[in-house]
């Protein structure tokens, strides 16, 4: 992917600024920690931090998803949230974990050297089926060992919409000391959209009637809210007969989602949305490229399949049918576009190449139709996150968001690229070399992930290093040198 440099977005400027200020903060804060530990020595209570879990990716080109690319940078997460992105970030050193048994340190701190690799935000698939296990009540039915979940993670998907839920692909990670599975962390939202129908004339009438009822109620309620301040006796307006789903759409709590393909329906939805002042999401949107301007004006968002192929209806004289340029044209008109493949499940036998495992490939086809790479990335990260109302947690790599990321060996949208690692909530949940599916194809030269305790060669430091370090012996656990230790040790062999 070519580097994105000519961006105007405000967010990018902010992030860049942020990234610049980070290194100073980072080194400073950990210096503090070290000093503190030294002063209080071993009496330092570990109760506070004994549940803290760190994950560090370093040496990677970090594509934050906000438009910035940080070359050879690092990212640190604490307890599943990103705390630092930038340069010269060090994970808390050995001293920090004083009092915690050796065996537990693997779980406390993992670090990943991603030299020559890229880090992207985890992919958000707007719609899929079967990835977290059986459908339905995900908290109580998720299968953390399901093969589909692994295959989803191997694609780079970390969050997906299933039905009305937004679900994280969390696997059970086994450490020295078994941890309970985080059942409560799976479902991000169980009300990501309201499904409205626009297929038949009666369903359209129904939608319109219910929407006007909801609007009338809302107007009455707001008037009452004002007036009740003066007259406390005033009765609240009757809510009977008002569909709460439609209320939620009008108040912006959730987005209305329609399934529509042809030009006439799309225009109808656009007018309907403009009349009542809400933003519709349209799945399919096959002929959206014809009415892109109208959809853009209505603030519509679209979920499209780039490779959809359908000829125009020959009975109509107007333009019609599918177009590979659909996504590109829609985004130019201001319609936010999320992309899904033709089949939303893992399909190893049927239409291979168009199932959910080929989501990045599908996006590649949208690029072929003229979509910019930046917007193409957004179509499987920020846009779907926004559509599901979970963009405060996933979609980009920013401080404070969930540490859901993927490490790839190349451009994510290139068909030869493999996802090497997938991290969800700061936990390594997929390693290409460890799973049987793709380990045999272009294997990685050597194992790059190691628990910090392995890097921290306390027992058997290499001979060469020992001489250099003699002067600094008082400063035990100087972890800045540790990764080098490892590398040199390997060279010796």
């Amino acid at each position: 992917m070519k580097q994105i440099q000519n961006c105007k977005s405000l967010a990018i400027g902010l992030t860049a600024l942020f990234a610049l200020t980070l290194p100073v903060q980072a080194s400073a804060s950990f210096e503090d920690d070290k000093d503190k530990d030294k002063k209080e020595d071993e009496v330092e209570p570990v109760a506070e931090k004994d549940k803290d879990q760190y994950f560090l990716v370093h040496n990677a080109d970090i594509y934050t998803g906000t438009g910035t690319v940080l070359r050879s940078a690092s990212l640190l997460s604490k307890n599943g949230k990103i705390v630092k992105i930038g340069y010269d970030i060090e994970a808390p050193g050995r001293d920090y974990f004083k009092g915690i048994p050796e065996a537990e340190r693997e779980f406390r701190l993992r670090s990943l050297d991603a030299q020559g690799m890229r880090v992207y935000p985890g992919i958000v698939a707007i719609n899929s089926s079967g990835l977290p296990g059986t459908n339905g009540d995900f908290r109580d039915s998720v299968d953390p060992f399901s093969e589909n979940m692994v295959l989803g993670l191997s694609t780079g998907i970390t969050t997906t919409g299933v039905g009305r839920s937004a679900v994280k692909l969390k696997r059970y990670v086994s450490y020295e000391e078994p941890l309970p599975y985080d059942f409560d962390g799976i479902v991000l939202s169980d009300k990501t959209y309201a499904s409205l129908s626009w297929t038949t004339s009666s369903s359209r009438r129904d939608a319109r009637e219910k929407m006007s009822a909801a609007r009338d109620y809302l107007n009455a309620y707001r008037t009452w809210q004002e007036e009740v301040k003066k007259d406390k006796e005033l009765a609240e307006p009757e809510k009977k007969g008002v569909d709460s789903t439609y209320l939620e759409v009008l108040t912006g709590e959730t987005y209305a989602r329609f399934r529509a393909a042809d030009r006439a329906s799309l225009l109808g939805i656009a007018r309907f949305a403009q009349e009542f002042g809400f933003r519709p999401i349209i799945i399919g949107c096959r002929e959206g490229w014809i009415v892109a301007d109208e959809l853009g004006r209505a603030g519509a968002m679209a979920i499209v399949t780039a490779r959809e192929r359908r000829d125009k209806d020959e009975r109509l004289s107007a333009e019609g049918g599918s177009s590979i340029e659909n996504a590109a044209i829609l985004t130019k008109a201001g319609v936010q576009v999320a992309i899904i493949p033709g089949s939303n499940g893992v399909d190893l036998g049927g239409i291979a190449g168009q199932d959910i495992m080929h989501l990045p490939v599908e996006v590649g086809f949208a690029i072929r139709g003229g979509l910019s790479e930046e917007l193409a990335m957004a179509s499987i990260s920020t846009v779907p996150a926004r559509m599901m109302g979970i963009s405060d947690r996933v979609g980009t790599l920013e401080v404070g968001k969930d540490c859901d990321l993927i490490v790839t060996d190349g451009d994510l949208l290139h068909y030869q690229t493999f996802v090497q690692y997938t991290v969800v909530d700061g936990q390594l949940v997929y390693d290409k070399e460890e799973e049987l599916y793709f380990a045999h194809i272009r294997p990685r030269p050597e194992k790059e992930i190691a628990p910090e305790e392995a890097l921290d060669a306390g027992e058997n430091p290499p001979e060469t290093k020992k001489v250099e370090e003699e002067e600094e012996e008082d400063e035990e656990g100087d972890d800045e040198d540790k990764p080098k230790d490892k590398e040199e040790g390997d060279d010796d062999k």
């Binding site: 296990g133 059986t134 339905g136 009540d137 908290r139 109580d140 039915s141 998720v142 299968d143 953390p144 060992f145 399901s146 093969e147 059970y172 086994s174 078994p178 309970p180 599975y181 059942f183 049987l436």
Partner: protein, 416 residues
């Protein structure tokens, strides 16, 4: 020499008599005691249906009938099938009935039990029908004129089925809630009773103070404390909590195991695991956790495939190597599977399961799981004389059970 002549004298006397003598010495080349390893040239002294002594080359007192089983003979404890419904044919639903017991269904005259004995299974753990929480299992010996006669234990374990859905988790939580409720009711009733007693005492005192003459009238005696109507469903879960009863959690996958932990939450009860071994079972994902927990895992001796591959996995071996206690059961309740049980296990041994573990997993471990290890499960002095005799390695496909002894009686085949 003397022994031999004794034997010669003894055997013609024994042969026509169907009943075994009260005291009998049996010499075998190898005795797999399970509890104390293998004893070569072992002598087993059986007295009144119990193993009186077992040891290597023991001197045998004059007058005790001796049977020498020959140079290739092997004795091992009778097999214990801890998870079975042999001889039972009712069906159950998916609901929660922890108060039920398999005892209600036990039919002593069922011909299956005779057939099962012939395969070498001398102890059965029978569970009530159905998924959900069907109730308590019982441990029996497959022979007896009445249910009481057959019964070894009536609270072997409580079967609980867990599937990955909210309803089965709820079922478990409800069980504990019901137990809580019963305790609360009991406490309330007791408080009420105590108050009544106190009041009665006061009244009595008052009356005494008032007038001694009126005392002839009956005191409103409160009587002894009566707890609320016992609830067998609540009792089962109370017993789980007290440690008087173990649960057998039936699951189908590694994911179910995590859901089980989620369902149990903070409850501290002791439980074992029953995992149905299917072709694509992925239990290896949590074997480390199971090992750390050290629970028993009840499995069939079946080699499985790693999911999506044709790579063979020996899950029973993996689980036991990780540290969990293995309990093997026949592949099904069919008679043929009881008969092939030893040979199927032999296959697992060939694929890496340790022979010692396998022996234990068919005898002592299930006996401990059923809570009847004091009576069966190993060739140990003091335990019931449930002994199987073979000519050759019991796990070899061409070795057949030569004789089955149940509590000192030969119930199948014959000794030399």
């Amino acid at each position: 020499m003397i022994l031999n002549t004794l034997l010669l004298v003894a055997s013609p006397l024994l042969a026509p008599a169907p009943a075994m003598p009260d005291l009998l010495a049996i010499k075998v080349d190898r005795a797999e005691t399970v509890s104390d390893g293998t004893i070569r040239n072992a002598v087993i002294l059986v007295e009144n249906g119990k193993i009186a002594v077992i040891g290597e080359d023991l001197a045998i007192e004059r007058g005790i009938p001796v049977i020498d089983m020959g140079p290739n003979s092997v004795a091992m404890p009778g097999l214990v099938n801890a998870y079975s419904r042999i001889g039972m044919d009712s069906r159950g639903g998916n609901d929660s009935q922890p108060g039920n017991s398999a005892l209600a269904e036990l039919y002593p005259a069922h011909e299956d039990y005779d057939e099962v004995l012939e395969t070498g299974v001398t102890t059965l753990g029978l569970y009530p029908p159905g998924n959900g929480i069907p109730g308590r299992a019982v441990a029996i010996k497959p022979r007896g004129s009445s249910a009481e006669d057959m019964l070894l234990s009536d609270d072997a374990y409580l079967k609980i089925t867990l599937r990955s859905d909210s309803s089965s988790k709820k079922m478990i939580r409800n069980g504990f809630e019901e137990a809580d409720k019963y305790i609360e009711d009991d406490k309330k009733a007791r408080d009420k009773w105590e108050k009544a007693v106190e009041k009665a005492k006061k009244d009595k005192k008052k009356k005494k103070d008032d007038k001694e003459g009126d005392d002839k009238k009956d005191d409103p005696d409160v009587g002894p404390y009566e707890p609320p109507t016992p609830n067998p469903d609540a009792k089962a879960f109370q017993d789980l909590r007290n440690g008087e009863l173990r649960a057998l959690m039936c699951i189908d996958s590694a994911g179910d195991y995590l859901h089980l932990l989620d369902a149990l939450g903070e409850e501290k009860i002791s439980w074992d695991l029953r995992v149905t071994v299917t072709r694509r079972l992925n239990l290896f994902y949590v074997k480390k956790e199971l090992g750390e927990l050290g629970c028993r895992v009840v499995m069939e001796p079946i080699l499985t495939n790693h999911p999506n591959t044709r790579r063979l996995r020996n899950l029973p071996a993996e689980v036991s190597e990780a540290g969990a206690k293995l309990v093997l059961i026949p592949r099904s309740d069919r008679l043929s599977d009881q008969r092939d049980w030893l040979h199927n296990t032999g296959e697992m041994i060939g694929a890496g399961l340790s022979r010692e573990t396998a022996l234990r997993a068919m005898t002592l471990e299930p006996a401990e799981m059923l809570g009847v290890e004091g009576r069966v499960g190993s060739l140990t002095a003091g335990k019931d004389a449930n002994i199987l005799f073979f000519q050759g390695n019991p796990f070899e496909p061409d070795t057949k059970v030569q004789a089955v002894m149940l509590e000192g009686e030969i119930v199948f085949g014959e000794l030399n």
